[in-house]
Subunit: 385 residues, 2 copies
């Protein structure tokens, strides 16, 4: 039985922490360690035991298009989407990846190698998840080419739009913006009820999800794609076969156990991971907004409320990242760095340096220190050019 | 306590199997399921238990160049190489990968992106591991270009030679052949005493190893690189960061447990995995040679004996693949396929179709059926154009 007590450190506690610790706080990456306390309370309910002789083969199911996908994981994924109501899984192929990062690249390969004209342009509306730039550029492929902001994209020819909703870094709900007859990769890493209202059952050609951002198990490196077109699925599997001959069976097994458990208890108020996660994120956002609103230095986006089909009530977004801005023109990333808080500069997301992306998924201690340091900057009114 | 009884099915057993089973035998991939019987006998000695709250972070050790490498795995790798004496690990960076497949591509990225002139030529002496062609070609990178057989390579400019020893597919002991001032990736997937005499402690700039082919745990997708140059190691880590944000922690933990165990008992005659593996491979090779030598249809390479520093005696190679040839000019892959045995055609390895690569690492049943079908082809003297 998991209680939903969210640890809200008192101010004096966090000040003590801050005094004790002069350490740099890294909120650049979105390492989802915030949820570990939930799993600690679950004790050994999701423990997996793997004997030495198990899972030795490269193959999981030679009759599946995705031959390295464990059939039990496929079932667990379908059951979870069914219970949450966030995505359609019927008449789709599931492709498992070493995180959704690998799947994003598998999708770029699949869609571009099936295109008659190459290179295919890759675009995303700013501010975008900065990693897309790296994923589309590092190997200098002749198949595709990073073309930057989708809003100003005006080239002819085939394109792929990376569409992230809720968006990383700014938490907004998005639709594709190019709207010609190109391809869209729907990255739904954060389309789960602890981050955002589930307003519809998504039903697109190519949707990406990641275990990392649902339950916080980023170390397992498990993501999946729901793919309508068998030719696209086959090419993605070809990519994963050449790139890494499939995906860790140990991680797939553990993900199966954990996803099955959160599905089973998702309607149990006192135990549900999503209830816990929702309260946790909401409380962090309230505390952050309190600090920001109590001064005249920083900005945060405002999110409209919407009816969440999963919770059956109207809720707001509590994104995994805060898109923190600065009212004056200033390099906010450098300012925060001077104050020993590492964040991702807005310039890396195709935007201005007066914005930074701050992870909201750190451990409680780090989050407390972050709020305290933010409050200090604000108090000092040190925002001078 | 693991007994070293190698199951040698009697002829009548395998004929019965063959009659019972009309199934296609897949010896195309090198799926190392042969060793599972050893792990069954080990019972729960290498069982790993992973609680739900463990291994959640993307990070393993932020002070290591390879920040996603579990420190315990690094120790286990060093201890194993130390005990076997097959490779130097001092003054080297360890980079872990999702199989050595991913590391091979990380190495191509690292070496070519550090080269002033691009694309860098990628070569390998025929017959080569066919996957290198795919790895170097599928993304149509501008960084490197597959140029085929290393022996006929005469282009100027930077190159990377893929050097596999013992070689996949033909089991020969190799040295680089281009011998200009290019880079060499030493793929030592099979440089372990159950496959080949350990004649020296390898000590090169960039060496690849894989968990898959040591103990047979291919499903875990764990490989590692031993890298001398920190700049190369850093670029490999950059590749792995973008490609999949590191490597499954569950797999790393399980590999740690299993590698530590085989190291601990490697000198214990009755328990050692390497003693077991050596006897197993030797016995399979003897049985295969018996079938081949009893007719005038097929050929196999001959391997010289050499003194193995690990076993302290002179032994021969027992490669993980048989490089089976056909005395007449003929498409051997098609012939075997007609007889319901799938193999990899020599043409895919840059050679003639009169050769095929046959996995020697299948389960006992499949190996028995393979030998039986081979004997049948030979008896029928059906090698007619
Ligand atoms: C929008 C988005 N997509 C994909 C990923 C990749 O996640 P993973 O590779 O851990 O599955 C992330 C991680 O931060 C993300 O924010
Ligand atoms: C020579 C060689 N290198 C690398 C690999 C890749 O192994 P893995 O990706 O399973 O580590 C193989 C597998 O067959 C191989 O034969």
């Amino acid at each position: 039985m998991v209680g939903l007590e969210i640890s809200k450190k008192s101010d004096s506690d966090s000040i003590k922490n801050n005094r004790l610790s002069d350490a740099v706080i890294n909120l650049d990456q979105g390492d989802p360690t915030a949820f570990q306390e939930y799993w600690m309370k679950m004790k050994d309910r999701c423990t997996v035991v793997i004997p030495g002789w198990d899972m030795m083969s490269y193959f999981s199911n030679t009759t599946d298009v995705c031959w390295f996908l464990e059939p039990e994981l496929a079932k667990a994924i379908k059951a979870l989407h069914g219970a949450i109501g966030n995505a359609a899984t019927e008449e789709r192929y599931i492709v498992v990846g070493t995180g959704s990062s690998q799947l994003c690249q598998a999708a770029l390969f699949a869609l571009s190698s099936l295109s008659e004209v190459k290179p295919v342009s890759i675009v995303a509306a700013t501010p975008y998840y900065s990693t897309y730039v790296e994923e589309a550029s590092y190997l200098q492929s002749k198949l595709y080419k990073w073309e930057g902001d989708a809003r100003t994209f005006d080239k002819n020819g085939p394109y792929i739009e990376m569409m992230t909703s809720p968006n990383n870094p700014d938490g907004t709900i998005r639709e594709p913006v190019v709207n010609r007859s190109g391809k869209v990769i729907h990255d739904f890493a954060y389309y789960w009820p602890h981050y955002t209202p589930i307003t519809r059952r998504q039903d697109h050609d190519l949707m990406l999800f990641t275990f990392s951002k649902i339950t916080g198990h980023a170390g397992s490196r498990i993501g999946w794609a729901l793919v309508k077109d068998i030719e696209v699925a086959k090419r993605m599997v070809q990519y994963l076969t050449i790139n890494s001959i499939g995906v860790s069976k140990e991680s797939q097994t553990r993900a199966t156990t954990i996803l099955n458990e959160i599905t089973k208890i998702c309607r149990n108020k006192s135990e549900s991971f999503f209830e816990y996660g929702f309260e946790k994120m909401k409380s962090r956002w309230e505390r952050l907004r309190e600090v920001v609103d109590s001064g005249d230095t920083f900005t945060l986006p405002n999110y409209p409320q919407a009816f969440c089909n999963f919770f059956g009530k109207s809720i707001s977004n509590s994104p995994a990242f805060a898109w923190l801005g600065c009212k004056e023109e200033r390099d906010l990333g450098s300012l925060l760095k001077e104050n020993k808080v590492l964040t991702r500069g807005g310039d890396r997301c195709g935007c201005d340096k007066k914005y930074v992306r701050v992870s909201m998924l750190s451990r409680d201690d780090d989050f407390d220190i972050f709020l305290h340091r933010l409050a200090t900057i604000k108090d000092l009114k040190c925002i001078k050019p």
